[in-house]
């Protein structure tokens, strides 16, 4: 896809970058972990079956051999307890990266994540921070149904104290993971499985994608589309169709879900006067709701139509392919929404 090239924001890969290769999102994640562990002995990976042959959809392949099972730790199936263990290690000088294969399992650990990690620095009056990274693979499809395909960014962003990132490109998959692992705070990264094969131009060196900054993937003039994760790709596909029909959408990859780049989006909406938000999650109080509410506050007079949200339907994920196919919105919904907010 052409836009993966221009979207490398060279500003955060340093001047004397060691070269840029075509890497998949999966490889980019793997490389980030390898480089992080090589350069910082405090960093280690943990999670259920992360050392196995599948290697967390290929993102940890080879790391157990390279770093040993003390730094690539297969854990018991005990998400809440092991999150507590990770927090304990984090506050005592280590930098754990806890990997979950599915977002649904993170829900089991919300006591430790929300009651503990999110509040520890505050409760301690700024003395003890929790440098914990949670990597979680999200996805959809193949009838995995209601307990294996959820989108949880809406749950993780609500309470203060946790940062949430959703890379849409290989570059950001690497850059945001590095940023997360170096962040002294709890950070959750949600990586979409359908993006793992997508390639992009990824610098060799260890670089950070700055947390809190969105990425404009396509410049446009008459409508702003803010998208998260795989919806960025759907939006780019939609843009081709829309462009052929005479629309000129500006597409913003939100990337950093919390904190988020309200200035970038507000500036775009001031220009375009229209906003469509395409999130992978649910509607009620989701990421799209926050963006809609906040951008409407910031750009009320510029907005020509109300912000349109594209989110999941109000139902758990169904198993049958016939339902699953219509459950997840994509480029068609984005095209329709853009035409609609543009007045037909």
């Amino acid at each position: 896809m052409p836009w993966t090239t221009p979207s490398i924001n060279i500003s955060y890969a340093s001047k004397n970058s060691k070269g840029i290769r075509e890497l998949s999102y999966r490889e980019a994640i793997c490389e980030a972990q390898r480089q992080l562990m090589s350069t910082d002995s405090r960093i280690f990976l943990m999670g259920e079956g992360i050392d196995d042959a599948g290697g967390v959809f290929g993102t940890t392949l080879g790391l157990a051999d390279e770093f040993g099972c003390e730094r690539v730790v297969d854990t018991p199936i005990a998400e809440n307890g092991m999150t507590g263990v990770a927090i304990g290690a984090a506050i005592n000088g280590m930098r754990p990266v806890f990997i979950h294969m599915r977002p649904d399992f993170v829900i089991i650990s919300l006591d430790q994540l929300l009651n503990h990690a999110a509040k520890w620095f505050y409760m301690s009056g700024g003395q003890v921070s929790v440098p914990l990274t949670i990597r979680c693979v999200i996805g959809r499809g193949w009838g995995s149904a209601a307990q294996h395909s959820q989108n949880i960014q809406g749950l993780l962003t609500h309470l203060p104290g946790i940062k949430v990132l959703m890379p849409a490109t290989a570059q950001d998959a690497k850059g945001l993971l590095i940023a997360a692992a170096r962040d002294p705070n709890p950070v959750v990264i949600l990586e979409h499985r359908w993006l793992f094969d997508k390639t992009g131009h990824v610098p060799e060196e260890l670089y950070e994608t700055p947390v809190g900054r969105a990425n404009i993937c396509r410049y446009g003039s008459d409508v702003t589309i803010v998208a998260t994760s795989i919806m960025v790709h759907e939006a780019m596909l939609a843009a081709e169709v829309l462009a052929a029909d005479g629309y000129d959408p500006e597409i913003i990859d939100l990337r950093s879900i919390k904190p988020w780049d309200e200035n970038c989006i507000a500036a775009s909406v001031q220009k375009t006067g229209r906003l469509v938000v395409a999130d992978t999650g649910h509607q009620y109080g989701g990421v799209a709701a926050e963006i809609a509410a906040r951008i409407t506050e910031l750009c009320f007079s510029a907005l020509k139509t109300p912000v349109r949200r594209i989110t999941l339907p109000e139902a758990p994920v169904p198993a049958a392919a016939s339902l699953e196919n219509i459950y997840f919105p994509g480029q068609l919904e984005i095209i329709a929404a853009v035409k609609d907010v543009s007045g037909g």
């Binding site: 297969d74 294996h148 109000e314 139902a315």
Partner: protein, 326 residues
């Protein structure tokens, strides 16, 4: 208080049930590459004796709570092959109307009130369902099936504590197949501990049994079921067994990870079906044509169910948002 060995007829039925499960799973394994079953399947080939031996003691109104690896339990409890298959094929005629897929089978008429694919998720629900029976002074019981991995979850502990506290008529059946996905138990549990031994901490009987010997399963679980039904409280049973396929899908996972071909071969040698066949043959309980006849019966049944499943209609889009609330 050991339950006597099952009589000849029961032995035949146990054997036939295992064959049914094996037959079903192998058919699924054959069909899966067609990619018309678009839902992950967690096959239980190698573990049939546990499902058969446990469910032989249960009435239709007794309840079971299973896991992602539920096919054997559901079939043994009476679930219709037709409805199960239709569910796998994503059809409205499936046991969940197509909404659950392979991981959440539901058949209230057979005591299957739904299934959780969250590891450890179904254990407290089994306790609660059995508690409801107790509160109503009923004499139905509940069985919680779960894997070795599930015993690492907090819900396992919380469930044992509450069931022991209230003397709830539930039987905890842990199928210890030594792996959770590709992760061997030695990565997850201390070698010096044991699953069955945990029962003592709650004052419960905890027993390690050979999960590949359907007669042993039948006898030992039979005692536990009777205890529960008589109001003598819960039992934890750890049944050692092994799955032949990979964690998910009809795949051989040996030599790609922690499971070795050797280990699998050793366990195939302990095949629960072969073991029972040998026993029945020695004891002269099996008629020579039995297996062949059953196999024909299963084939015919399965073929009919498959036609039903394939010809059923998928749920239409109006159903996408129904059943969110009752």
């Amino acid at each position: 208080m050991t339950m006597p060995s099952p009589n000849d007829n029961t032995k035949r039925l146990l054997f036939k049930k295992m064959l049914l499960i094996r037959h079903f799973e192998q058919k699924i394994a054959e069909l899966y590459p067609e990619q018309e079953i678009r839902t992950p399947v967690h096959l239980c080939v190698g573990q049939e004796a546990v499902a058969a031996g446990v469910c032989a003691h249960l009435r239709p109104a007794d309840l079971i709570f299973s896991t992602h690896r539920n096919h054997g339990h559901c079939l043994a409890k009476g679930m219709s092959v037709k409805k199960m298959l239709a569910e796998f094929y994503g059809k409205e005629s499936g046991c969940c109307g197509g909404k659950g897929g392979s991981m959440h089978p539901c058949a209230p008429e057979h005591g299957i009130l739904g299934t959780s694919a969250i590891v450890g998720g179904g254990i407290p629900m089994a306790v609660g369902a059995a508690w409801a029976e107790q509160m109503r002074n009923g004499d139905n019981i509940a069985v919680a099936f779960f894997g070795d991995g599930a015993t690492e979850e907090g819900t396992f502990h919380e469930s044992l504590n509450f069931a022991a506290l209230k003397n709830i008529p539930v039987v905890f059946i842990c199928e210890n197949n030594l792996y959770a996905t590709a992760s061997p138990i030695r990565h997850r549990q201390p070698a010096a501990g044991s699953i069955a031994a945990k029962a003592k901490g709650y004052g419960l009987p905890g027993e390690l049994i050979n999960g590949n010997d359907v007669i042993e399963v039948y006898q030992r679980v039979g005692e536990a079921v009777e205890r529960a039904r008589r109001g003598q409280g819960p039992t934890l049973i750890e049944a050692e067994t092994f799955r032949w396929f990979a964690h998910v899908g009809p795949v051989d996972d040996t030599e790609t990870g922690h499971r070795s071909a050797d280990e699998l071969a050793r366990w195939k040698n302990k095949c629960p079906i072969r073991r029972m066949r040998d026993h029945l043959t020695i004891e002269n309980i099996l008629k020579s044509e039995d297996e062949k006849n059953w196999s024909i019966e299963f084939d015919i049944n399965f073929a009919g169910a498959l036609t039903f499943a394939k010809e059923s209609v998928p749920p239409t889009k109006e159903l996408l948002t129904t059943h969110v609330f009752a």
